[in-house]
Structure formats: C-alpha cells, structure tokens
Symmetry: C2
Subunit: 441 residues, 2 copies
Amino acid sequence: MEFDRIIYNGTVITVNSDFEIIKDGVVGFKDGVIHLVESRKKDITLYDAGEIIDAQGGIVMPGLINAHVHLPMSIFRGLADDLPLAQWLNEYIFPAEQKYISRQTVRIGTLLSCAEMIMSGTTTCCDGYFYEDAVAAAVLETGLRAVLAQGVIDFPAPGVPDPLKNVEAATVFVKQWKNRSSLITPSIFCHSPYTCSTDTLKKAKQAADLLGVLFQIHVAETKQEVEQIQEMHGISPVKYLDSLGVINGNTLISHAVWLDEEDMDVLAGRNARIAHCPESNMKLASGVAPIPDMIETGICVGLGTDGCASNNNLDLFVEMDSAAKLHKVVKGDPTVMDAKTVIKMATIKGAKAIGLGDIIGSLEPGKQADIIIIDTQKPHLTPMYHPESHVVYAVNGADVSDVFVSGKPLVRNYLPINLDVNEIMRQAGSVGLAIKQMTAS
Amino acid sequence: MEFDRIIYNGTVITVNSDFEIIKDGVVGFKDGVIHLVESRKKDITLYDAGEIIDAQGGIVMPGLINAHVHLPMSIFRGLADDLPLAQWLNEYIFPAEQKYISRQTVRIGTLLSCAEMIMSGTTTCCDGYFYEDAVAAAVLETGLRAVLAQGVIDFPAPGVPDPLKNVEAATVFVKQWKNRSSLITPSIFCHSPYTCSTDTLKKAKQAADLLGVLFQIHVAETKQEVEQIQEMHGISPVKYLDSLGVINGNTLISHAVWLDEEDMDVLAGRNARIAHCPESNMKLASGVAPIPDMIETGICVGLGTDGCASNNNLDLFVEMDSAAKLHKVVKGDPTVMDAKTVIKMATIKGAKAIGLGDIIGSLEPGKQADIIIIDTQKPHLTPMYHPESHVVYAVNGADVSDVFVSGKPLVRNYLPINLDVNEIMRQAGSVGLAIKQMTAS
C-alpha cells in the first residue's frame, strides 16, 4: 500500500486496548485513515509513502480530546478571577455575554480557541454554547474535529431571545449540521437542571434521542446546585434527571462533582458518560469530583478544560497533570489516577464519552488519522524513562510540534497550516479591548 | 544616565509593595542593577541605552524564584511515578541515587535543571543536595542565581560516606563558596527531623548561624513523619525542632504540610520562612499545606517545585497555577490565593524566604536586574484583561522569550545564550539510559 504519510522515529503511544507503547514505531495513514501501526521492521525508505515524517525521537500519540469546552468564551479569558461564583457570573460573565456575544464574537472566540487547541495538541473537542451555527462554521474552517451543541436554557439567550423556542433552535442546528461534514457532529446541550425546566429537559432529551445525537448537560457542579434541586424536587440532580429519562448511554454529564453512591450507581447503570473538568472545578472552588471511584465503578470518564473563563487555558496536557495530582492528594493515595489512566481519559475514554469511540481516541488501523507528535528534545523532557509519564507530568501544549486531523496536517514543525493565527489574535484582541472598556466603566 | 539596556513596550508587573502594574512601562538597568522603572514618558529613542529591547506588548516581570528544588534529581525525572512513597523511595530513588549519584552525574543533572529553569523564566533557585560543590560549579557556569546547600543526613550519603562528618562537609562547602560569586549564596540543608539526629540538627543549625547562612530543612511533609516524631519525642516536628533552637528567621522550612495551629504560631513567632511545593505534595499524596492560613498569620511563604522526580518539571508558572487552584478547591473558597498573592510567592516572598529579599524579587531601582519577558502573542494569552491573571492561570514556561540575571542576558528571543543545551541533553540522556538499564534488570 502507498500511504499518504508515514511517521517514524518516535515512541508510539497507541492507547489501544493493551495500551501498547511501541519504541521505534511506524504509523502510516492514507485518505485520513490509519492503516499501519507497528514496530519498524525495515529501512524507512522501503515503506511506500507520499511523505515520510521523522518524529526525531519524540512521542507519537492520538490527538487529545477535550470532552467539555465552551469555545467562544476564550474572549473572556481572565476577565475576572478569584471571585465568589455568584459575583463572577452575575457581575462579569453574564453581563459580558449579554452585551458582547454575537454571531461575530462567537466566531472570533471559536477561531481563537481552535488556534489554541490545534497548537497544543487537541484534535477534537465537545462544545456547547449559543449561535452554535457560527461556532460550527468557524470550527469547520480550522480543520478540527468537534461535537457541537446549541445551548438550551430557560432564559433569553444570545440568538434565542424567546426561551420557548430553545429546544426548537437546538433541533434546527442539529438538522442543519447532520451529515454536512465528517468532522462536525451536532449535539444538543441543556445547560443544567437548575436553569432548564422539567419540561425543557424532557423535550430536549427526546429531541436528541429522536435525532440520534449526544445530549450534554452540566450536572452537580456545585453543592448549591445539589441543595437547590434537593429542595425543589426532593432528590439529587442525578436522580431527578434520571426520573425524567434524561440519563442514558447518549448522555454526557459535565462536572459531576457532588455525587453520592446512589448517584454513581444510577450513572453506571444507565451507562452515562462523564466529562471531568478538574481545573475549572478547582478554580471556581466547586469541589473535587469522585473520579477514581467513578472509574472503578466502570463509568466512562473523559477530560475537559471547560471554557477559558474558568481555567484559563485549553491546554489538555496541563489538565492531565492536574487531574492526576489532584485526585492523588485528595484520596491520600499516590497510586490512583496513574499516567495511563489519565492519558486514556484524554484520548480513548474522551472519544467514547462524546460518542466517537469507534473512529478516534487511539492509533489503530481503521481509526481516523488524528495524530500528534510531541517534540521531546527539550530539557524538561530529558531524560525519558517512560513516555506516558512525560505526557502527563512533564509535557505541556507548547511541546506539540505536529498535528494531523483525519490525516490532514494542521500544524507542521510548530507552525499552523492554513490558519492565520495573527489575524485571529488581532480580532480577539479588539473584542477584548471593547469588553475591557465596558467592565472598566 | 546611560543604561546598559532598556526594556520597553511591555506591561511591567513590578511586584513592588503596591504591586504596581505599569501598562506602557520602561525598565532600565546598568551594571546588573535596575535604575529605572517607570511609565514611558518620552519617545523610546530619547532614552540613553546600549540596547533598547522591544517587549512587543508582552509582560515584563521579576525572574521567578524556585524556593525549593533538588537540582541534580532531574536525571531521575519520570523514573518512577504513581507509587506509594515508601516503594518509590526504597525501590527506585534511593537505589538510583546510591548507584548513579556521582560528582559527574550531579553536574549533568544540575546543568539540565538550570537549562530548564532558564528557559522557563526562573532566575533564582534554592537547592539542597549532595556533592554540592559540583552543583555550585555547574550553576556558576549557567549564570543563574542560587542559594545552594550541602545536604546533611545521618546515613552514608553520596560524597559523604561517614555520617559523622556530614556537618563538617556542609561547613566546608559554605566556607568554600562564601564570597566566591555574587550569584552563589551557600547554605546548609538538613534533610529532615526523621533522618537527622537531635545532635546533628543542633550542630548543623549552630554551624549555619555561626556562618551566617540560611538553614534549610524538610518538615512535616507527611502524616507518617508527624506520627513518627510524635512517637519519638512526644511533640510535633515543628515543636521538636523549635525546642532544639533550629527554627528562627534564617530557617527555611520546606513542605510544612501537616501543621496544627500551635505549630503555625511557633513558625510565625520565630519568623520562619516556608517553601510551599504543591505539585510535589499532590503527586506524592503527601497532603495539602495550610498555606492560606499561614499567609494570613503573616508567615513568609515562597513557592518551590521540589526535585524533578516528584513533579516532574521545574515550571514555576504551572506551579503557580496549581498553587492558586489547589487551595481554592480545598478551602471551598475561590477568593483565596488570588493571582497577586501567588505571584508574590513566586517572586518577592520567595526572595525573602531564601534570604535574598533585599536584592531580588521585584523590579525596583536598586534591585538586581533579574528580569523576564513573557511573549503574549499567543492564542492562549489572548485577549489580555489582567496581566497578573495571565501569569498565574494561562502562561507556561514556554512563553518566556527573554531572561536576564544581574543584567546579563541568559535567554534572548527564546534562545539560551552561552549554554549548550543540546550537549547537556545528550549527556543527561546517556545517564538516563544507564539508569534505565539498571532498573530494567
């Protein structure tokens, strides 16, 4: 077979079911699909390929998967920090969203987030926001893979002034984007059980199931939310949502911080998926999700950054580091969340969590060629005993030199291909300036 | 005055007592000393300087200070992770140290750590290890500023086979390096209250006080240590050390994880300084030090990475991020450890903690020109509302473009000056290969 490209001279972290790590590995792909993952058996010039890429002793692995993000919110990065949640939301984020979220700023914020993700090794993300058609159009330009959902909330929202039409707007978005691009998978995102009525939640989930798409929702992010739902409905958020039929194998629950054992049993029993966002949960002081327990129960957990306003970056390598370390110290056990478990969260488990486990998340023949190369010729990545340890505990996004999505190069030798990053930053800077003037006044 | 160099067109985070942030700032220095920090008042060409450096809209701030590190241990980076502390130490770190720590490997590990620190914006570190004369010679080559201490432990140690001579060896080191270079400040480092006898602790502290140097020690890192000292001496590690006269204003206590209120009163009353190492404490599951409480009590707290074997990098920007977020979630309060507090830990408080508060830690006239420039022309640093927020929550070490120590350039436009990083990595890689073969067999 003639491959479009072959990558060699790297340590390949396959993330296949045996978590095979191939020291002098070769990865070959053609027409966007991986056809070869093996230990190099012959001189590299004997492989037949359009291009032969030298990974220079680095790490070759699946592109990372950000299981929960709000792409347009990058324009609010660092707008307000270190504040109580209510003040942060009510005095900064909500007013800024109300005044500055438009189809145009959503486009700019999305391009900015995509530029950041591409340059830090993330090849797929799962987003929920408003003006999602503008998000989708922007993501499509960048070449990233994404699951994208129009937000549903029972308040007037950007682009959806009448909350009575929120589920309809989400449905229209799904229909518009279904089968439009192999890289864009539409989805529906209900904000939360405390911002959506019982009726809205049921209607939105029914629509998602009818359309055969992923249903996303923030659940049990804060203790206050749990208390509020408990007071309103007499049961926990998870049990409340389950009673509405909202939780099943096509439901992605973000955060899931405040769960009791019964909640976990419900999630496991329904085969629900979780997007864990440790840095956002830490920064907002929301709490620590019981992730090691969930994983032990067999629940599928992916890793997300959440939006830039509460992180404040989209670097999944640093997020992996935080995930690994946070749970060790909270559990008082350095053996939990080992490097392999955490890499799986950011790759194959994330893929499964967002419904794309069959096509991405590992380097295996038949899977999409979503591949990154990590340049390990750096002091902070020297020496290298265990590549999986470096990925979690020492690499950061700036070490990613090459990125491919569906076999197409998005970054080569640190330079983004076909993306005018300077122009994106210029436009995002202008939006930031306007917002800054608003908050200063 | 004719300056050697002037940096302009950046936002200057001074970390002076008012934490002044100067938007279009100018920093001028001559003969290694800062003489000018002001808002630009005239055309930059009207300033008289040998070189005028354009920060290109980036952030100009004091070089970061790593208050606790073991430089040579970078050769063990990622050798073993995700293990119980005792197994990690006894099966990996101690055997590797016993077999592979020599004057030569100490030199290579130190150069590797210095390369990493220089390239990620750290200009000063505080180290304790063995063969410290080899550490000092290596640091001197790199141009970094450092407080360096020969380790004291009541076991046969690298270079000190007879524990009875450990305090003597530390004293010899201090005498050799006192006044040898303005960049190297010698110190004495007792490993801990559980690895040094009462007699050793007293003798080492007396020697440090007599020589007028900083005394460093690991204290209350783990719960097991506290229980052990409690069992042996009937009191907590802090109170035990205080009873020996070991704790005073020239004592730097690393970790300080397991403290009760009385311990904190002792530390505050004695004016002791703390080196907080959140990522190491997280990774080893040691616990969470009560840092917000200590700061409230007025205790001076700096920030350290600890050695590379338990982190696994020396990036103080990511360490700041972890410090800020960890305490928020543990305290359940997003307002603790705000960005300014955390930046102070990594700069002026760190400087004070290691005894150099008068000469470094802030950009003010009269202080040493230890200065870094952060390149903010990156998607993940766009837009910029608050530079201090970016420094803590979005920047990582790879964003540092320029580094000066005592006015001397160590990194310009991302390239290390006068340091053969490739050769250092080659040598460290060779050492790593030998260690890998040992652990594999």
